[in-house]
């Protein structure tokens, strides 16, 4: 034995066990070295491996373990101490690393395990999602079917088509064996089989409406599974096989009245129809929830479509009715128009036809009155006149009134002199009033405009009527007529609350009050005054004649003039006051140049401008002759008048300084006269100046005058100043050619 520091193995190396250990150690080492290599290879290959450094650690552990076993191979034989040292180091390292690894694995293995659990969880989730997808797809299919069905149903507005289409489409979508619709009868006590899918002509089965199964279906808005044996489901002859499941759903039948304002729609409707759907027999199919939902939706849609159809039917019916009514109205209107035209024609004809003879009678009677008559005859003629005047008034009144009622009367608006109207009334009334010894007074307010715009004739008629009534019903006393411009306080009269006049810038309200001290009117008669044909019962009025239309017409005229008329009386015997207000326009301010030429104070040219000048005037027209003479006389001339050419030639002498002759009369040859005068007076200074008076100064006339030797032409009408200046010019220069 040498002291080589070798360590002897404990067992002899040739032992069999040792040999097996040796081989095992060798393979273990091999394996231990190849495992990291494999690990490295696969890790490098994989993209994701979160624990790389763990791998390193593990690798180290394995490598060291391998190293240990490898080194162990040398310890089977005699080995040096160095080997033993290396072995020990390796073992120590291995121990450290393996402990560290063990410690680390405590952390890592739960993580790795949880990864696995997560993986399992995700797989489950995926399976679930798959299932849901399947469901959604089914639902979408259903939705598509519903939409298509709805589209089909709503594409028509015909009731039957709607229902038929519903059944067909449902049958197709759900692959039904049979689909039927039961509608409530008119009485509402039974359900009648109205439509089926397969059978072409349902035989008209009826079923009482108050069966429990039907009530059950009607009371729920969902589709309800019912037994195939109940009456509503026994549509087809029972087959040998098991009938498929049956479902029934209610279809509300909505009316127009259900679509009221607040609720949409009000489902307190009582009427339902019943839709029964049967799955094919022997198919072992079940009603799925989504199919039931489809059926419910369709039922609702059908309800809506039916209500639309109903509304449409109603509106079509209403339209037809309206058309009929329109035709009838049109006919009625045409008839009315024909009637109105006939009446107008009648009135027009009667108007003319009645007035002509009336006019003749009145005119001739009044002429007759002027002739010599015996008292008897006079009385007769007066009676004729009176009666015919009454009749004429009556005709006028009736015709006027009918036109007023028609609304066809329109005011003739124009500018007129308001004062003149009143004065004319006064002038007309005065003779009669003085015969009756009534005193009539007229008061026009100072601010009353002189001119107004309105219907003069009708205003006069109204005033005349009112004043005439005052005169008629007064036996003695006085009548006062007052006209003022109504101011705003007066406008709102307590007695006429419904009359609200509004004055404006270019209108004013004329208020006329006629007060008389006559017989008066009793209060109960006052409302009747303005109604046509109504007369008071008192004898006084009865005798005075008249048709009672006067005031009615006045009222209408006053209304046309946007005014109001009323009568007040304190009672019988106390006289009465008639007041009316009418709206009149104010004319625009007159332009100054339009004002007439106001006669000036006679100028001091003196009337004797041409004292004693002898002048001859020849004019066929009496009036203009007189006017010319007047002119010349005013200027102091001594005028001789002749009316014909012969007379002129006869009378003219050298004393006449000027001869005025009118040459605008056709046929009268003033020119001839001029020529003859010229012939007569050969000496120029003896010849009178010849001046033509003419209405036109065209060239022809002037030329003619010049040709015949006239000295001048004056255009008529001749004013005083013109005549004066003409004479002055003539006498100065002996010629004047033209004076316009």
């Amino acid at each position: 034995m040498d002291s080589c520091n070798c360590i002897e193995p404990q067992w002899p190396p040739d032992d069999l066990l040792m040999k097996y250990q040796y081989i095992s150690d060798f393979f273990i080492a091999l394996a231990y070295f190849s495992i990291p290599l494999e690990l490295i290879y696969f890790v490098k290959k994989s993209a994701v491996f979160p624990y790389r450094w763990v791998l390193v650690q593990f690798g180290a552990f394995i490598v060291l373990c391998g190293a240990t076993h490898l080194i162990n191979l040398w310890t089977f034989t005699m080995h040096t101490r160095t080997v033993a040292m290396v072995m020990t180091t390796a073992k120590v390292f291995t121990a450290v690393v393996s402990c560290a690894t063990a410690l680390m694995l405590v952390h890592i293995i739960p993580d790795l395990l949880s990864v696995k659990t997560r993986e399992l969880f995700l797989k489950n989730k995926a399976a679930e999602l798959d299932r849901e997808m399947g469901l959604i797809r089914t639902q979408e299919e259903t939705g598509r079917h519903v939409r298509m069905l709805t589209h089909e149903i709503r594409s028509t507005l015909d009731r039957h088509t709607i229902l038929k289409t519903t059944l067909v489409e449902l049958g197709r979508t759900l692959a039904l064996e049979e689909c039927a619709l039961w509608m409530p009868t008119r009485t509402g006590l039974e359900l009648q089989l109205s439509y089926t899918l397969r059978q072409q002509n349902p035989v008209g089965y009826t079923v009482p409406i108050h069966l429990p199964v039907i009530n059950q279906v009607f009371s729920s808005s969902h589709a309800v599974k019912i037994s195939p044996n109940c009456p509503v489901a026994r549509i087809r002859p029972a087959g040998k096989y098991m009938p498929g499941e049956v479902v029934a759903v209610r279809v509300p039948l909505l009316h127009l009245s259900n679509f009221q304002i607040n609720d949409w729609p009000e489902l307190s409707t009582k009427r339902y129809a019943l839709m029964v759907l049967m799955l094919p027999s022997d198919s072992a199919r079940q009603w799925h929830v989504h199919e039931l939902e489809l059926v419910e939706v369709v039922a609702d849609q059908v309800a809506v479509a039916l209500s639309h159809a109903a509304i449409l039917e109603e509106s079509m019916r209403a339209r037809d009715l309206l058309m009929e009514q329109n035709v009838a109205l049109d006919l009625a209107r045409r008839e009315a128009e024909t009637a109105i035209r006939a009446r107008n024609d009648f009135l027009a004809v009667m108007n003319h036809e009645m007035r002509t003879p009336m006019h003749a009678i009145i005119a001739l009677s009044s002429l007759l009155q002027e002739t010599e008559l015996t008292p008897e005859q006079r009385l007769m003629v007066e009676t004729i006149l009176k009666s015919s005047n009454l009749l004429s008034t009556l005709i006028n009144d009736v015709l006027d009134l009918s036109r007023l009622e028609d609304g066809s009367l329109q005011l003739d608006l124009g500018t007129f002199n308001l004062f003149a109207v009143f004065r004319e009334v006064l002038n007309l009334i005065k003779p009669i009033a003085s015969v009756k010894k009534l005193h009539v007074s007229l008061n026009l307010a100072p601010d009353l405009p002189e001119y107004a715009i309105g219907d003069e004739k009708r205003l006069m008629q109204t005033i005349l009527n009112v004043v005439g009534n005052a005169v008629k019903f007064s036996k003695e006393g006085s009548i006062s007529i007052t006209a003022i411009v109504a101011k705003s306080e007066l406008l709102r009269d307590s007695r006429t609350p419904e009359f609200f006049p509004v004055p404006s810038d270019n209108h004013f309200y004329l208020r006329v009050q006629v007060k008389d001290s006559g017989v008066g009117i009793s209060p109960q008669d006052i409302p009747k005054l303005f109604t046509k044909f109504a007369q008071t019962q008192s004898t006084a009025t009865r005798n005075s004649g008249g048709s009672g239309l006067g005031l009615a017409i006045c009222k209408r005229f006053v209304n046309l003039m946007e005014g109001h008329i009323w009568i007040e009386s304190d009672g019988l015997g106390k006289g009465c006051t008639a007041i009316f207000m009418v709206k009149l326009g104010i004319p625009e301010r007159l332009n100054e140049p339009k004002l007439p030429f106001m006669p000036k104070v006679p100028t001091n040219h003196g009337p004797t401008a041409f004292p004693g000048l002898k002048v001859l005037v020849m004019d066929e027209n009496g009036v203009s002759r007189m006017v010319t003479k007047g002119l010349l006389v005013h200027l102091g001339c001594d005028v001789t008048m002749v009316s014909s050419s012969e007379e002129c030639l006869h009378v003219v002498s050298h004393e006449h300084k000027v001869v005025f002759m009118d040459v605008c009369v056709p046929g009268m040859d003033g020119y001839e006269v001029a020529i003859r005068i010229n012939e007569k007076f050969t000496k120029r200074h003896e010849r009178p100046i010849i001046v033509a008076l003419t209405g036109n100064t065209d060239k022809v006339t002037k030329e003619n005058c010049m040709r015949v030797g006239m000295d001048g032409v004056i255009l008529k009408p001749v004013s005083l100043d013109k005549m004066r200046s003409v004479l002055t010019e003539l006498l100065e220069h002996r010629v004047l050619f033209e004076a316009i």
């Binding site: 009145i362 005119a363 009044s366 009155q369 007066e382 006149l385 009176k386 005047n389 004429s392 002199n417 004062f419 003149a420 004065r423 004319e424 002038n427 007309l428 003779p431 009669i432 015969v435 009756k436 001119y451 005439g468 008629k472 005798n543 005075s544 004649g545 008249g546 007159l590 339009k594 004002l595 007439p596 030429f597 106001m598 006669p599 006679p602 009337p607 004019d619 066929e620 027209n621 009496g622 009036v623 203009s624 007189m626 006017v627 010319t628 007047g630 002119l631 006389v633 005013h634 009118d662 605008c664 009369v665 056709p666 046929g667 209405g695 008529k716 009408p717 001749v718 004013s719 005083l720």
Partner: protein, 153 residues
């Protein structure tokens, strides 16, 4: 009523006649010719005008009723009427006469008849106005009617 008021009324009424075109400056001229030597000049002229016009209107009516209308005669009458009315200043009558003469020239019967009617109308209007002005009164239908209706039992 006192004199001043009467005069004012008269003037007002007369002014209105000018405004409405019934009378024109010629009428004013006539009034100027009236003086102490000739106090009733205007009234005389106006009366003469009335007489003349009535006569002429009747003649015209008669002439237009004939089977064969003598337009020359009608023209002559209308000319006279025109002359008279222009002398007195009855403007509106004069205007219608001018239109009348045109229709005469055209020998248009309807036009003539229409104008005759218009002339009559205008004449009666101006007559009424002048009457009121001068209180020259000729009884008219309305007054007879009133008298009969109101006064007699």
């Amino acid at each position: 009523m006192d004199l001043v008021q009467l005069q004012r009324q008269f003037v007002d009424y007369r002014t209105s006649l000018y405004h409405e075109g019934f009378l024109d400056e010629q009428f004013t001229q006539l009034q100027e010719l009236q003086d102490e030597n000739n106090p009733d000049f205007v009234v005389e002229v106006v009366s003469l005008f009335f007489e003349d016009s009535e006569r002429l209107l009747n003649e015209l009516a008669r002439a237009l009723e004939q089977q064969s209308i003598d337009y020359k005669r009608i023209d002559a009458h209308v000319h006279q009427l025109k002359g008279s009315s222009s002398s007195i200043g009855a403007q509106r009558v004069q205007k219608v006469c001018i239109a009348f003469r045109n229709y005469c020239e055209e020998q248009n019967v309807e036009g003539c008849l229409k104008c005759l009617q218009q002339v009559r109308h205008e004449y009666s209007l101006v007559k009424t106005k002048l009457e009121s002005l001068f209180q020259v009164r000729l009884p008219c239908r309305r007054e007879i009617f009133f008298l009969s209706k109101m006064v007699l039992p």
